[in-house]
């Protein structure tokens, strides 16, 4: 019997006694061990996974329902607290830190729903980057082309799902760290309405912008996982939606294949109006500055005492951010108020806005740049061109994979705050119509 990998299929099989959670967990652990070259996994949690799976199997044997994610194997970005383990946040300097006393709340909710935690996953150090180039745990490879980045900072989380290691994973998104790797690896992901999913037990980066969310193999799986994390039922129907494309800033520098795919999508849904919000450049820069300001101050004491223990690519960004003037934080928040008003006006007329996630496919590791206005800029800091202005506002976004040949290309489905479930339902509709499709290397 071939064991399923989709979360919905696994949970159904385990709940009906067609396969055991232990079989599923052993298969996941074997897949992780078979693909070490992805550098997606930082720690394999074999004992914990088998213990959790055994509990699920015991519940099934007693005739109890283990929950909607019964036996589904998953992993978490290495900034979620896992009881008994140091929370490294991708930092070598925390590899032997004091172990976490408790699981993060998100992990508690998943465990209560029957999910089985199998691994912690690679990331840019302290979540400050868009490529997952980690000085201690290496560069996570894109499962669709190992010469390319998986994206970041939640790159291990994306590669583990796209590479067929795990059924779903958790990551975090401050400026694009779920949406970018989801796009580059061909997955669904969610950056939820700010502060709508539990952050307790996660290592912070930029308190004002940080959120957690999931990577999934389908929009239906994403709906299930998100509903468990949220403790609310998923929406079955998106209802009638007014949809528009974001143009202007969000139409710049696109590779021809992505531009063509967006046109195809717009024709299939629409015709769609295009909205060109003003002030995007300033908003993106404000998000950039705000991140540097908060991240720099968070790490300033440690940098003062032991700067050389940091990943150089993170360290120097944080040091520069720590030196920013005090009033810059308030300036950035004032800029956000203005930009939020712009989007309030747009959401009075539309329910969903569609924008690209990244200008093109995953950059090559040997040539780590993204071309903006004809100029090559470091991918680590600049892949967030289209994602930073949106998360700056705390809006919910579904990262969705376009149904295209070749390397993955992704879009953002953006809604007003609180419309998360409706956005996921919209993604499910588009997936059912064949307009969105994950790319998986099982």
């Amino acid at each position: 019997m071939t064991l399923p990998l989709d979360a919905l299929a696994i949970a159904a099989s385990v709940r009906q006694g067609q396969c055991s959670a232990t079989e599923i967990a052993r298969a996941a652990l074997a897949r992780i061990r078979a693909k070490p070259d992805l550098l997606a996994v930082t720690r394999i949690l074999e004992d914990r996974a088998l213990a959790e799976a055994a509990l699920v199997d015991a519940q099934v044997a007693r005739g109890e329902d283990p929950g909607p994610l019964a036996g589904v194997p998953y992993g978490v970005k290495d900034l979620f607290d896992v009881a008994g383990l140091p929370t490294t946040a991708g930092a070598a300097r925390l590899e032997f830190a004091e172990p976490a006393a408790h699981d993060a709340i998100a992990i508690e909710r998943l465990r209560a729903a029957g999910a089985v935690l199998c691994a912690t996953l690679n990331m840019d150090e302290f979540a400050y980057g868009f490529v997952t180039d980690n000085a201690r745990w290496g560069i996570t490879r894109n499962p669709h082309d190992p010469d390319r980045f998986a994206g970041g900072s939640s790159g291990g989380s994306a590669a583990a799902v796209a590479g067929g290691l795990l059924s779903f994973t958790l990551g975090s998104d401050t400026n694009g760290s779920i949406r970018i790797p989801a796009s580059l690896c061909g997955l669904f992901g969610i950056k939820p309405t700010h502060d709508s999913l539990p952050m307790e037990g996660t290592f912070p980066f930029v308190h004002t912008l940080d959120d957690i969310g999931a990577f999934a193999r389908s929009a239906s799986d994403l709906a299930l996982i998100d509903s468990v994390l949220r403790g609310e039922p998923a929406a079955n129907d998106a209802g009638p939606l007014r949809v528009a494309l974001l143009g202007g800033w969000f139409a710049r520098d696109l590779v021809p294949d992505l531009r063509a795919a967006l046109d195809t999508l717009a024709s299939a849904i629409g015709p769609l109006p295009t909205v060109e919000p003003e002030g995007v450049a300033a908003a993106r820069s404000a998000a950039f500055v705000l991140s540097a300001w908060e991240g720099g101050r968070l790490h300033a004491p440690s940098l003062a005492s032991d700067a050389l223990s940091y990943d150089p690519a993170t360290r120097d960004r944080l040091i520069a951010g720590a030196a920013l003037p005090e009033d810059v934080h308030a300036e950035a928040l004032a800029r956000r108020e203005v930009f939020a008003h712009t989007f309030d006006t747009i959401f009075a007329r539309y329910d969903v806005l569609i924008a690209p996630t990244v200008v093109g496919p995953a950059p090559l590791i040997a040539h780590p740049v993204v071309t903006i206005d004809g100029e090559e800029k470091p991918a680590r800091a600049n892949l967030g061109l289209f994602t930073q202005p949106i998360s700056f506002l705390g809006l919910p976004v579904i990262a969705a994979p376009l149904a295209v040949p070749g390397l993955p290309l992704g879009i953002q489905l953006i809604g007003a705050k609180g419309s998360d479930a409706r956005l996921i339902a919209f993604a499910r509709d588009l997936e059912a119509k064949g307009l969105l499709a994950t790319k998986l290397r099982d």
Partner: protein
């Protein structure tokens, strides 16, 4: 203009890496290790550019069109 504002000014970021990184160390009250110099200087210049973009924003409403 205070010390931190001056650090990110257009004139300040024209200084060479060593001088700029030393100025950062002075603002933070620490001696930056030498390996930090080029990266810190580069990131101060990047942040200076973003500060200028953030502050130079025009405030016109969204434009809309149907294609």
């Amino acid at each position: 203009m205070n010390e931190r504002d001056a650090l990110f000014s257009p004139r300040s970021i024209e200084r060479d890496d060593a001088v700029l990184a030393a100025a950062v160390g002075e603002v933070l009250g620490l001696a930056l290790p030498e390996p930090c110099t080029p990266g810190v200087a580069a990131n101060v210049r990047i942040l200076s550019g973003h500060l200028a973009t953030m502050r130079a924003a025009s405030e016109t409403p969204a434009q809309e069109q149907t294609r």
